[in-house]
């Protein structure tokens, strides 16, 4: 059985700090806004929606205690709507969609919603603790290093210069600004409203059209101190002794921005769509995840993509557009180099460096972004992939119908 996408939408993304526009909007509220929009846009008979699976990384405080069911309860969809929250770190939003698709393909569900949420200004990244970084009996043998060190390690090991990263980052802003200017995000992007229904944000807050390689060159590296004072450069080199030293080349301008946002995708079987008068936009062709060595951590998009292509019986050239999450500039650069894919096919409307990476939501957002762009260009196939903490990658291939 095939799993079809009937709609995909996301909120605008607000800066994830004390000055960000969405700090007062709870993650539950962000999800509920998406649910409401999904209902209204599709005139959706919500009694037919069986489940809500939400990706969310930092599942404590406002995001604790199963935020999917919390939002389901608040959504007005009805008490029948169930909810599960999943955590595959930065791949969570795509993982949730893949899980819904898998349920549909298996015939276990006919119609359900997958997506993700992260309000990073309210619930701080890494505030959920965990053994991976903090339990010495795990972190020491695991050669745990913070992600920024992993990103700098990739750049050091594979020879990506600061200049190349900054240039990529500037392009992300330019592409995003261009897309924004031409209204390319409008179809699947919703503004966020307050409790009075007043709009608090209607544009992605982080895009800076004036960003250039030169302006980025002024920024100080973010992870140099973590590398030296906290000793993590040495940890990375213990694992990769062929690397003479870690070049600290990532900074806030060529790493993904910390933002708030949510996104959802409505997925179902062909018959469920027909019964409700929903028009299928695309089919989920295949999906895959892959584990990688945890210290370098962020190489996962390559094996995950290769696995997803293999499962779909496709080659990389069969894919028209790629979305590779810009967690750090080196991730898509490494991906393009390893896969031999031109930048013209990758992140054509910018990415998380410009617009931000609300951890649990991003995967679902990228799916919506590439779907819109395939339609606009009248192309067929898109692949979404994200690198994931702890050493993982996830990839999904969609195909317009």
């Amino acid at each position: 059985m095939d799993a079809y996408i009937f709609d995909s939408l996301r909120t605008v993304r607000g800066k994830g700090n004390d000055k960000g526009s969405l700090i007062g909007i709870t993650p539950t509220a962000l999800l509920v806004e998406c649910l409401t929009a999904l209902k209204e846009r599709n005139n959706l008979d919500t009694t037919q929606v069986e489940d809500l699976i939400v990706g969310c990384v930092t599942q404590v405080m406002d995001q604790g205690a199963n935020i999917a069911k919390t939002a389901a309860q608040q959504s007005g969809y009805g008490n029948h709507l169930s909810g599960a929250t999943v955590n595959r770190f930065c791949g969570s939003g795509l993982e949730a969609v893949n899980q819904v698709a898998a349920y549909v393909k298996a015939g276990f569900k006919d119609l359900a919603i997958g997506g993700g949420v992260e309000n990073m200004s309210r619930v701080k990244m890494a505030s959920d603790g965990g053994a991976m970084a903090a339990d010495p009996s795990v972190a020491l043998p695991g050669h745990f290093v913070p992600q920024g060190i992993s990103a700098d390690l990739i750049a050091s090991k594979y020879g990506f210069s600061r200049d190349a990263l900054d240039s990529f980052a500037a392009t992300s802003h330019q592409r995003a600004a261009e897309a924004e200017k031409n209204g390319r995000f409008n179809r699947s992007r919703i503004s966020v409203k307050d409790v009075n229904n007043f709009v608090v944000l209607d544009k992605d807050e982080n895009i800076r059209p004036t960003t250039t390689t030169e302006s980025l060159a002024q920024l100080k590296p973010s992870f140099a101190q973590l590398g030296s004072i906290a000793g993590f450069d040495a940890v990375a080199i213990d694992r990769y002794p062929e690397v003479e030293f870690i070049q600290h080349v990532h900074h806030p301008g060529n790493s993904s921005a910390i933002v708030d946002g949510a996104a959802l995708t409505l997925v179902g079987s062909k018959s469920a769509g027909e019964a409700l008068g929903l028009k299928p936009l695309a089919r989920i062709r295949s999906a895959a995840v892959s584990g990688t060595e945890p210290t370098i951590m962020l190489l996962g998009p390559v094996p995950a993509t290769q696995a997803a292509l293999k499962k779909a019986g496709m080659s990389k050239d069969d894919v028209d557009l790629y979305e590779v999450n810009e967690a750090f500039a080196v991730v898509p650069l490494y991906f393009m180099e390893q896969m031999d894919i031109p930048h013209e096919k990758v992140n054509v409307n910018g990415g998380a460096i410009a617009m931000g990476h609300p951890l649990g939501a991003t995967g679902c957002m990228l799916l919506g972004t590439v779907l819109d762009e395939l339609e606009r260009r009248n192309l067929q196939t898109g692949l979404i992939t994200l690198c994931i903490g702890g050493g993982m990658g996830i990839a999904t291939i969609i195909e317009r119908v």
Partner: protein, 712 residues
């Protein structure tokens, strides 16, 4: 009222309701923490708790130390299976917890060093009152490969906070009473012994219901508990730093950190169980046994001068003469003056001699600025160094150390000059690192009084002194030299004459193997990083730069029995030092570049000079590590065979202290035991086939392997 004593303590009670447990180990210089002690302590404590006439207990010591720590004789040689040790340890915790949970206050009245188990015992008391003085609180266990397993990892964070507790356990930080008070390790410091007992008594009278902080639900760990953001940040940072410092080679610190993270989330009874399980795991690794053997027992013996030949009274050095006020001479002058000797520091010019003295002045000024020495004491030390140019000034010296340039003619000349004025029964030591003592002694009229005394640089920091016995050196001279070395508080090992003696000879195989790997096409970063990861303080290429490639080239060229690999090294060194003008660090370029104000970087040209190839790419990090460490151990076996070393313990101690062989191994011979002799020989045989005759295993070692006769 009942008083008694046994082999570990004296128990007494008095009319005013105070019981005293006076720790006083019979036939031992100090009190030690052991199962037997704990049983005895618990018996006394139970008696006090059960005695209605007793209000509280003062725990103190009749010795100079409060308690010197665990009995390493027991720990280094576990008498029983891990499971039995665990049972004993859990029983210990149970007994101490029982005492701790009783409402009767226990006060540790600390009157001297509280190390390891002694400090941990004090932590089980409700209050710690210390006599002010020049002694220390410390948990030194990680230095011998284990960690504080008597509850220290669990109780200390409650008093001083997690970050500071980690400093005490992992670095390990040590403090005197006043700082201990600031760090919250203790609650009170008093000026004299009477006040110590009075203060303890006051506390007991005022606190009839004492509760330990970890048993008080309202108590908060200073700086926050382990699961607070601050606690998490502290632990995550310390994980990174621990690997940076130890590269995963020291299970003691790692297991301590795991026990802290795990245990601090639990009630104390269960936390101690977690600690105990990690402690047994640590004891079962070879690291603790190796480190205790070498860095505690062998080191203690060496410091006491155990290798001194029998039958010679102590040779007291009151006046020391040093020839040559360069880096080594100046450093030797400094440590000798600090040990109370009058030092005559001679050089050719007044200026050079003064410069040597200035070295000590600079060092003293640093210590003054940090408050580590009083101005009076600094003045005394400096006043004992007399910079001179005239050889006559040496006439009243008891001991001469010649530290001029490594030039045999020059050394011969100063030997003759000095002996002309020196008393006929005085000792002449040459601080050479490579020149054979027997041949230098030829310049001496009294070769029986002539000996090698090899210091390491920087003299102040490096504890080892390699004493080299020449062919004609007398036992009396050796005895006197060992006395001198112990008088300046250095650690002597005694070796017999041979080119490079023991340390330089073995060290040469390390720099050599590193350079040979480079010539085979292995990437220099990989060689250097693997060496450091294996526990060497400096990579072989970096240390070659420090020594100077020119110097190493000179030594190699002098070797009369060159093998193929020597020729290969000479070619590389010549290429670098002469043709490319990259002789080493001093010149600002060698294997590395040394850009001003920046970190050194491997010279990019090395990749072209020694290009990678299909074979070099197959050389794994594991193989590199083995080649770098095995080669030193193999050369040490030859030293033992040839009688350069008298025993394996000297080799173990000398390798760690002299050339930085990784301490976790316990030294070169302990390393072979740990690798397994058969495995070691098999590895060497494989390298013999692959890379050359330098890997030929001596027959003695092969026989050892066949008989599975370990060094220890």
């Amino acid at each position: 009222m009942e008083n008694y004593k046994n082999d570990y303590l004296q128990y007494s009670t008095s009319e005013d309701g105070i019981a005293v447990i006076m720790m006083d180990a019979v036939n031992e210089p100090t009190n030690l923490f052991s199962w037997e002690f704990i049983e005895s302590y618990a018996e006394a404590a139970r008696r006090a708790i059960a005695d209605d006439a007793v209000q509280g207990v003062i725990v103190t010591s009749a010795k100079r130390d409060f308690m010197a720590g665990a009995d390493l004789r027991v720990i280094s040689n576990p008498p029983a299976e891990g499971a039995v040790i665990l049972k004993n340890l859990l029983k210990t915790h149970e007994l101490l917890r029982e005492i701790e949970k009783s409402p009767k206050p226990f006060v540790a009245a600390i009157n001297g060093n509280a190390y390891g188990g002694g400090f941990e015992l004090a932590l089980t008391c409700n209050r710690r009152i210390a006599l002010d003085g020049n002694y220390k609180f410390s948990l030194p266990e990680v230095q011998v490969g284990i960690f504080p397993g008597g509850g220290g990892t669990q109780r200390l964070p409650y008093l001083t906070g997690i970050a500071n507790a980690l400093a005490f356990i992992l670095q390990p930080k040590e403090v005197k009473p006043q700082q201990a008070l600031k760090d919250n390790l203790i609650e009170e410091v008093v000026a004299d012994k009477d006040e110590l007992m009075a203060a303890a008594k006051r506390y007991i009278q005022n606190n009839p219901n004492a509760v330990q902080p970890w048993d008080d639900k309202k108590y908060k760990i200073p700086g926050g508990g382990i699961l607070t953001p601050n606690g998490m940040q502290t632990i995550i940072g310390s994980i990174g730093l621990l690997r940076k410092e130890t590269h995963g080679n020291y299970p003691g610190g790692e297991n301590a950190l795991s026990a802290i993270y795990n245990g601090l989330q639990l009630p104390m009874d269960r936390a101690l169980e977690v600690e105990a399980r990690y402690f047994v795991k640590t004891l079962n690794s070879p690291v603790g046994k190796n480190m205790i053997r070498t860095l505690f027992f062998a080191m203690t013996d060496a410091k006491k001068g155990k290798s001194k030949p029998q039958g010679f009274p102590e040779y007291r050095v009151n006046r020391l003469g040093i020839l040559g006020a360069g880096m080594m001479g100046a450093g030797i002058a400094n440590v000798s003056a600090a040990a109370g000797m009058q030092v005559v520091l001679k050089d050719v010019t007044r200026e050079a001699a003064e410069k040597g003295k200035n070295h000590t002045e600079k060092q003293l000024n640093d210590r003054l600025a940090k408050g580590r020495i009083t101005p009076e004491k600094a003045q005394d030390i400096l006043g004992r160094i007399n910079p001179v140019t005239e050889v006559e000034t040496l006439k009243d010296c008891d001991f001469i150390i010649e530290a001029v340039f490594e030039n045999p003619q020059l050394k011969a000349q100063v030997t003759r000059e000095t002996e002309a004025v020196l008393g006929k029964d005085k000792i002449f030591g040459s601080n050479t690192s490579t020149l054979p003592i027997t041949s230098l002694a030829k310049a001496s009229e009294r070769p029986a009084n002539f000996i090698g005394i090899h210091f390491f640089s920087p003299v102040e920091k490096m504890p080892l002194v390699e004493i080299i016995v020449g062919k004609e050196t007398s036992d009396r001279t050796l005895a006197a030299t060992i006395d001198f070395v112990t008088q300046i508080k250095k650690v002597p090992i005694v070796v017999n004459d041979s080119p490079g003696f023991f340390t330089s000879r073995v060290f040469g195989t390390y720099t050599g193997e590193g350079a040979l790997l480079l010539t085979e096409g292995v990437a220099p970063a990989l060689i250097e990083n693997v060496a450091r990861r294996a526990g060497m303080p400096v990579g072989p290429l970096a240390v070659s730069d420090e020594v100077s490639i020119t110097l190493m080239l000179g030594i190699l060229k002098l070797n009369p029995n060159k093998q193929e690999h020597h020729e290969r090294l000479i070619e590389l060194y010549q290429n670098l030092a002469e043709e490319l003008q990259r002789p080493g660090k001093k010149a600002g370029q060698g294997f590395y570049d040394y850009p001003a104000g920046e970190k050194k970087r491997i010279w990019q040209g090395l990749a072209k000079l020694c290009p990678a190839n299909g074979d070099s790419e197959k050389i794994t990090a594991d193989v590199i590590q083995k080649r770098l460490l095995h080669i030193m151990a193999l050369e040490s076996c030859r030293c033992l065979d040839e009688g350069v070393l008298n025993n394996s313990k000297d080799g173990d101690l000398g390798s760690i202290l002299g050339i930085g062989f990784p301490p976790y191994t316990g030294g070169v011979f302990s390393y072979i035991d740990t690798v397994g002799i058969a495995q070691f020989v098999a590895d060497c045989d494989a390298f013999r086939k692959q890379v050359g005759v330098r890997w030929q295993v001596p027959d003695s070692l092969r026989e050892r392997a066949e008989g599975n006769r370990k060094f220890y």
